[in-house]
Amino acid sequence: MSLSSELILASSLAAPLATGAQDQTAPNEVPTEKLTPSEDLKVGEQTLAAFGQRDIGQLRQSNQDNFFTLVASLPHEDSELGFGLFVIADGMGGHAGGEIASSLAVRTVAHHVLANFLLPTLSEEPTEALQSLLVEALENANRIILAQARRAGSDMGTTCTAALLLGPALYLAHVGDTRVYLLKPNAFEQLTTDHSAVGRLLELGQIAPEEAHDHPLRSQLYRSVGQQPTVQVDFLYQRLGPATKLLLCSDGLWSMLPDEQIYATLTEDDKPTELCSTLIKQANEAGGEDNISVIVVRLPSNERLS
């Protein structure tokens, strides 16, 4: 780990490795209200800001979710380019395996992207394609978790969804059923596809959404990080366009709240901190059956491009 300490400090890693149910609120990236000029990527009215939060929920004994957020601004030709890295992971496996797996995934992915993209970019060295960068980041996590699992004789694994924001575009790498949603004016779009058989059946129209919601196999994944020697990683490139917010969350949020409600909540406020706690509160009120983690990113207005 040769990352500069400044970077680590400026970022927020949700939880130190396997500290069990310690909580909950992580410091946010760019404070949303008391913006200092250096932290504020202000162009027009909307500024780039992100906040992440996780909660154990109402029923679980431990929190197996983990996340990472980082917001920065990079010099780019004559101007700046907004940079954001958001990683979320929902672990599984007994004997603290889930916590370990999701924490390893989040740390490995964040480290890989910072070491192979952010630092070289700052020193004006060439970087590889963002697709291979992100896919390799998850593949690394897969290898590291699998190795650790074998040593420990554990069956642990995790979902892992990483979103890299770079100027006008978003780059996603994804395995499992943690989700990324994009909030646009008058639209709420789920960018990721759940790697669960039930999700696939839903996609094919074989079962109805209500059936999917109650399907006993709904959280059974056909792809995960750390449980096979190789992992197939979904990569997605998405122009942000007029989108205003980005949401990353674990199934503890989306399985508790209908999309409509999440959408409605996200449109009510512009402060990522408030939105995170509201969403978590709502998921807990709806039952809180699983760990809940949420990252809300407020996107800068896109006009800066022209």
Binding site: G93, A129, Q131, L204, Q206, P216
Partner: protein, 672 residues
């Protein structure tokens, strides 16, 4: 190993395609139940969980345990010896119910399944179904004594081989599987195997197949539409997830198993129900079309689109395999597909003669420039230093304009003028009707880049290391950008940015209004290919062998695709794919979203010509002298036309005619 963890009250988060070999679901979706699974991959099950019987353990005072044969999700199988036969060593397989589930409900279900397997097998009599000898309970465990079938399961055979198995071998196994499925489906009540997959099919040394693991086979009770959902993810049909298990489900799983064997692509590693996106011949071109058709029909998403019975599948297979003896072909058999692919190649060659010449026109030197067509005339530059204007319909000479050096730049039309560069260093604008010069713009080096015009601005690069924006009306410079090496790539303007490649290894994005660099991305070798854009991305190839997709806004590389040699050919975007040639002899269709190969057409010559698409067909030239016409969707050859020398010029298609130049000095008009 238990891969599905049970949580106190919430949902189960289960894992893994390969890992989930057997899964159980009760009819009542509110009833939670951990899912028994089976797996051979590490980490292995803890020894204390299995409680393996030690060697020489005696069961029923009759069966002596010889060793462990395998561990399943619900059972352990031992080799045993029947001591009642004192003088001969009679071996058998002893299956022990293996209870790992912590809750009594699952244990009950498992026991019921085991009981059912015993009962089922006892009533069946088929060479592909193991015979059952005994069934008993001892020390709170349940045991099933069965025929010991020597051999290997198909999954092990495939793993050992490490590549797809031969069509005839697999075909003959499939016929035998159809036989036994038909036998099961003909029982009254009908028996559904429900877990057809390579690891449940054994092949004996005599190449006879035997189905194993009837643990989840189910009697079909037509009065009960929803059954317990069991099966193996990756092989199980979609309807099985709704609890529907019938004959057609077994046929789907058979299709999935055959797909696996013929392609060596494990369906448990893939997104469920995506076989239709992975046609067998894409993954293994050695497989015949008719075999592919059979398997893909078995894999139809809707049960009613599949074959109606195992019998029907068997008939279809026999037709493909020519009805040869089902038990005679060893699985190390030869590869008869070479003959088939040779025939296909010949057919392709015959089809190639479908190309049709409309006219050709001979210039005095090589044609590297690509034609430009406007109002009934064709314009093309020639290495004899002339720009030619030809009549489009008949290829008759109209006029020519002499420059002071060869022309490799391709002309463009703007406002009645034809504009092009010459290796004499000048950009010329001529009246398109008569070839009268309107203006000349001189640069400090040869021009090999081609002009691109947008909003009155002519963009062109020069070997003087500058990239120019010229006023199309007056021929005066609006702005230029100078670096340290020549610009031979042409421009790709896209709203407010113009993209181009440079020999200094950068792809630049200039502000159209003032030439300021808005983005640049460095690659490892010069870029002579001309970029193409869609709404979000810029595409370009480099001499470094990579093809790049860059984010238009920031210039960062979204993905890159490696070919075997330099990329000189300029890409063309059609729908969700981008097309380009490489000097490695490959013509590539790549998915824009993922950077993954959609298809590749290989020839034995460099492809430096840039593709042109029209009406579902894509055209390009190659240094073997041919002009190729492929189907855009599939990359299937429609025709090819042989010219007298390399074709580096890029084709243009207008109203059903392909126009292209060749190094044999001729311009060709071919029927598209």
């Amino acid at each position: 190993m238990p891969l599905i963890k049970r949580v106190s009250r919430g949902t189960t988060k289960g894992i893994g395609a390969a890992l989930l070999r057997e899964s159980v679901l009760t009819d009542d979706p509110t009833q939670e139940m951990p899912l028994p699974t089976e797996d051979s991959a590490p980490p292995p099950p803890a020894a204390e969980e299995i409680h393996a019987l030690p060697k020489d353990t005696l069961l029923q005072n009759r069966y002596s345990i010889e060793g462990m044969l395998g561990v399943g999700g619900m059972s352990v199988v031992y080799t045993g010896r029947d001591l009642r036969f004192k003088d001969v060593k009679r071996l058998c397989a002893i299956k022990e119910m293996y209870q790992r589930a912590p809750d009594s409900q699952t244990r009950m279900l498992n026991l019921r399944l085991f009981d059912r397997e015993a009962g089922l097998l006892a009533t069946l009599n088929h060479p592909a179904i193991p015979k059952i000898f005994d069934f008993f309970e001892e020390n709170k465990h349940v045991y099933l004594v069965m025929e010991l079938v020597p051999g290997k399961d198909l999954e092990a055979i495939l793993e050992e081989r490490g590549k797809p198995l031969e069509e005839t071998t697999v075909g003959h196994w499939a016929i035998q599987i159809c036989d036994v499925l038909q036998y099961l489906h003909n029982q009254d009540p009908v028996i559904i195997f429900r877990d057809m997959k390579p690891s449940n099919v054994l092949v004996t040394p005599e190449n006879r197949i035997v189905l194993v693991d009837f643990g989840i086979a189910r009697l079909l009770d037509p009065t009960k539409s929803k059954g317990t959902m069991i099966g193996t993810e990756g092989y199980a049909p979609p309807e099985q997830y709704r609890g529907v298990a019938d004959q057609k489900g077994d046929l789907y799983a058979l299709g999935a198993a055959l797909h696996h064997l013929l392609t060596n692509h494990d369906p448990r590693q893939e997104t469920p129900f995506t076989f239709q996106d992975r046609p067998i011949r894409k993954l293994n071109p050695l497989i015949s079309e008719s075999m592919e058709k059979i398997v893909m029909r078995l894999l139809e998403y809707n049960a009613e689109d599949r074959y109606s019975s195992a019998q029907e599948v068997k008939q279809a297979l026999l037709t493909v395999l020519g009805g040869s003896g089902a038990f005679s072909v060893p699985y190390s058999g030869s590869e008869p597909q070479t003959a088939a692919s040779a025939a296909a190649a010949l057919a392709n060659q015959n089809r190639a003669s479908g190309a049709e010449l409309i006219w050709k026109f001979q210039c005095e030197d090589e044609i590297r420039s690509s034609p430009c067509i406007y109002k009934g005339l064709l314009y093309v530059g020639c290495y004899d230093s002339n720009l030619y204007a030809l009549d489009l319909a008949e290829g008759k000479f109209r006029w020519k304009f002499a420059t002071e050096a060869g022309i490799s730049s391709s002309p463009a039309i703007w406002e009645q003028n034809v504009i092009f560069g010459s290796e004499d260093g000048a950009v010329y604008s001529l009246n398109q009707n008569h070839g009268v010069r309107q203006w000349t713009f001189r640069t400090g080096g040869a021009i090999r880049s081609s002009p691109v015009i947008q909003d009155r601005l002519v963009f062109i690069g020069s070997d003087d290391n500058s990239f120019y924006a010229i006023d199309g009306m007056r021929g005066s410079e609006v702005w230029k950008f100078t670096t340290s090496l020549p610009f031979r790539s042409s421009a790709c303007p896209s709203s407010d940015t113009v993209f181009t490649g440079c020999n200094d290894n950068f792809i630049y994005g200039f502000d159209i209004r003032n030439g300021k660099v808005k983005s640049k991305q460095r690659v490892q070798q010069p870029i002579v290919s001309t970029p193409a854009c869609n709404d979000d991305l810029v595409f370009v190839g480099s001499l470094d062998t990579f093809f790049y997709a860059l984010d238009k806004g920031s210039g960062y590389t979204v993905w890159r695709f490696r070919t075997g040699h330099s990329i000189i050919s300029s890409p063309c975007v059609v729908g969700k794919r981008v097309f380009f040639g490489s000097a490695d002899g490959g013509f590539y269709a790549v998915e824009i979203k993922t950077g993954k190969l959609a298809w590749k057409y290989e020839i034995e010559a460099q492809i430096t010509s840039s593709p042109c698409e029209d009406s579902g067909r894509i055209y390009f030239g190659a240094t073997d002298g041919c002009v190729y016409c492929l189907e855009t969707n599939s990359g299937t050859l429609i025709w090819k036309y042989q010219t007298g020398a390399a074709v580096v010029s890029s084709p243009k298609v207008v109203e059903g005619v392909v126009y292209v130049g060749s190094m044999d000095h001729c311009v060709y008009a071919l029927k598209a």
